[in-house]
């Protein structure tokens, strides 16, 4: 595993009308690793996430992607650079079929996205690739259903398939396991592990236990600041982290 940094935040700060949501966060995501960003509610995880993906503009600080400053880039642009995010609330296109959901992500490289005079059938060449991606996340029986009809866990799987369709170098997953039942958590965690084999994953999660065996590096946030960072064994023994997590910290150690 190479040790170079693919995504880096320097002194990242975000203030909302005087309230400091994120304060001086320095984050380094190494290429090819699974990096988890965890913390209790209101710790600023999602804000950091939105800053990194350009959905929010930082008040201060710098974001570097592959050594390039992307602090002022637009969200659509960083997606084209290979930095693709998911959303906390499942991000599917509900009234498109599962196949169309994935196909939307695949169709941009065809260069016909503005061609309103062309037939939809010109997109059919993408179906094979789309169905492969759907197969990858075990959604084949649902391929022609509307995304709105899928149960929650399957929507998350569809979201991952759509994100994978862009073949991103870095996948940013916002609470990919939140709200899932036990049966879905294992499957989705395995899926994340599998797709991370060839790319970098940065994920935001609520619970330490969930990411324990999934992540190479864990960064713990509290009140907008970094509390601890390192592999699970180190982080879970950190006194401050145990305190911040109270019961859950102990539970995590047990898991």
């Amino acid at each position: 595993m190479t040790d170079d940094i693919i995504l880096e935040a320097r002194g990242l700060t975000k203030e909302f009308k005087g309230f400091v949501a994120v304060k001086e966060v320095n984050l380094q995501v190494r290429r090819g690793t699974i990096h988890a960003l965890i913390g209790p509610n209101g710790a600023g995880k999602s804000t950091v996430f939105n800053l990194l993906t350009k959905f929010l503009t930082p008040t201060r600080g710098q974001i570097l992607y592959k050594g390039k400053d992307i602090t002022r880039a637009k969200p659509a642009d960083i997606a084209l650079m290979g930095l693709v995010r998911s959303f906390q609330i499942s991000a599917v296109f509900p009234h498109l079929s599962v196949l169309e959901n994935v196909r939307v992500a695949l169709q941009r490289p065809l260069g016909t996205s503005f061609h309103f005079w062309k037939s939809e059938s010109t997109l059919h060449e993408l179906h094979q690739r789309a169905l492969e991606l759907i197969e990858d996340v075990n959604l084949t029986p649902w391929a022609y259903h509307l995304a709105a009809e899928l149960p929650y866990g399957r929507k998350r799987a569809l979201e991952i398939a759509t994100t994978l369709a862009l073949d991103p170098e870095v996948m940013l997953l916002d609470e990919p396991l939140a709200g899932m039942g036990h049966e879905d958590i294992e499957g989705t965690a395995a899926l994340i592990k599998r797709v991370a084999a060839s790319r970098t994953v940065l994920m935001v999660e609520h619970n330490l236990s969930v990411v324990a065996h999934l992540s190479d590096t864990i960064t713990v946030l509290r009140r907008g600041e970094i509390l601890a960072e390192g592999p699970y064994d180190v982080v879970s023994r950190n006194a401050q982290v145990m305190e911040a997590y109270m019961g859950t910290g102990g539970g995590a150690g047990h898991a």
Binding site: A79, F87, A91, S113
Partner: protein, 332 residues
């Protein structure tokens, strides 16, 4: 249209076993409905007053253009009268004063709609929801006051006595039936373009934006540009409807650019079913029919239409066609 449905059918067999609903059941139904509608429209002038049917067709095209924006891009414009009326003035002026043939007048009308649409779009597109609607309303009011003040629009009188002329140098539009079939052809072209747009690679992105804009952005789509193209397309088609209307009634007036006109097209689209292809046509037909029947009675037209609208919104929010589609098995 048949060619398109054939190609999709060829791609289908592999999927048919997996799918409960094939991807092209809707296409086949649309083609059938379209054929039936076309046959009815073709026979209509022999049963009904042609000018009345032409009015329905003009408004149906206008509503379809509006629906392209709200139904497939999720943008509520409250200023579409500017494109409809603006184009009506331009077509009327170029035909009457400059003596251009009707096809050139219509083309200029479409360009006027597109140009206004581009200006509106560039200003409004970054705003969401009610702000978008308010900006389009404000801009269309500016167009209205320009129409009121400028010389060429004829102020309160409008441009009257617009000659219909000879289309492409062959079709004498002063003949009522020729005019009628020309309007029907224009409608079919406009409708076909909308159908194509909805079922195009662009239409797919547009639907994705309507469904979940942040997600579309995160997939690398610069959504503002797609929305702008949709806005200009919609404005151009509204312009085509307005220009055609000016030729049919031989008149362009302030009624066409007034904000009530923007409201009326919203009403037609919602009544018929927004986001459905045929809904705006049904809605336009209904509203125009009601207006002309009620005009002969002593009932206050806006009150009756308003009441019908309220009942519709309360009872079937998807609109007439939307509600029918929702109850059909396997409908989308």
């Amino acid at each position: 249209m048949t060619a398109a449905s054939q190609t999709t059918n060829q791609a289908a067999p592999k999927t048919a076993t997996v799918a409960l609903r094939g991807p092209d059941a809707g296409t086949a139904r649309t083609a059938l409905l379209f054929a039936v509608g076309l046959a009815v429209a073709g026979a209509a002038p022999f049963a009904l007053y042609p000018v009345f049917v032409m009015k329905v067709l003009c408004f149906a095209l206008f509503a379809c253009a509006f629906n392209l924006l709200i139904g497939f891009a999720g943008l509520l414009s409250f200023g579409h009268a500017a494109f409809f009326g603006g184009a009506a003035y331009v077509t009327a002026h170029s035909v009457k004063v400059w003596g251009l043939p009707p096809e050139a007048g219509l083309l200029l009308g479409v360009l006027a709609g597109a140009f206004l649409g581009l200006i509106f779009g560039v200003i409004a597109i970054r705003r969401q929801g009610i702000y978008f609607a308010m900006i389009t309303l404000a801009l269309s009011q500016m167009v209205f006051f320009m129409a009121l003040q400028m010389k060429f629009t004829g102020g309160e009188d409008g441009i009257q006595g617009v000659p219909r002329g000879v289309l492409f140098g062959i079709f004498d539009l002063t003949q009522p039936l020729t005019m009628y079939y020309a309007v029907l052809a224009i409608f079919v072209v406009g409708f076909a373009l909308i159908w194509r747009t909805v079922h195009s690679p662009f239409g797919q992105v547009l639907k994705a934006i309507r469904e979940n804009e942040p997600r579309a952005i995160s997939l690398g789509y610069r959504t503002d540009r797609y929305k702008l193209v949709a806005f200009v397309l919609s404005a151009s088609l509204a312009g085509l409807a307005g220009g055609t209307k000016a030729l049919v009634f031989q008149l362009a007036s302030l009624t066409d650019v007034q904000w009530q006109m923007s409201g009326e097209v919203v009403l037609m689209t919602l009544l018929g079913g927004m986001g459905t292809l045929f809904g705006p046509v049904v809605g336009a037909g209904l509203v125009v029919t009601l207006e002309s029947y009620l005009a002969a009675t002593s009932l206050p037209v806006p009150v009756v239409i308003g009441a019908i609208f309220v009942v519709c919104v309360l009872l079937f929010r998807r609109g007439i066609v939307g509600e029918i589609l929702a109850r059909l098995p396997g409908a989308r």
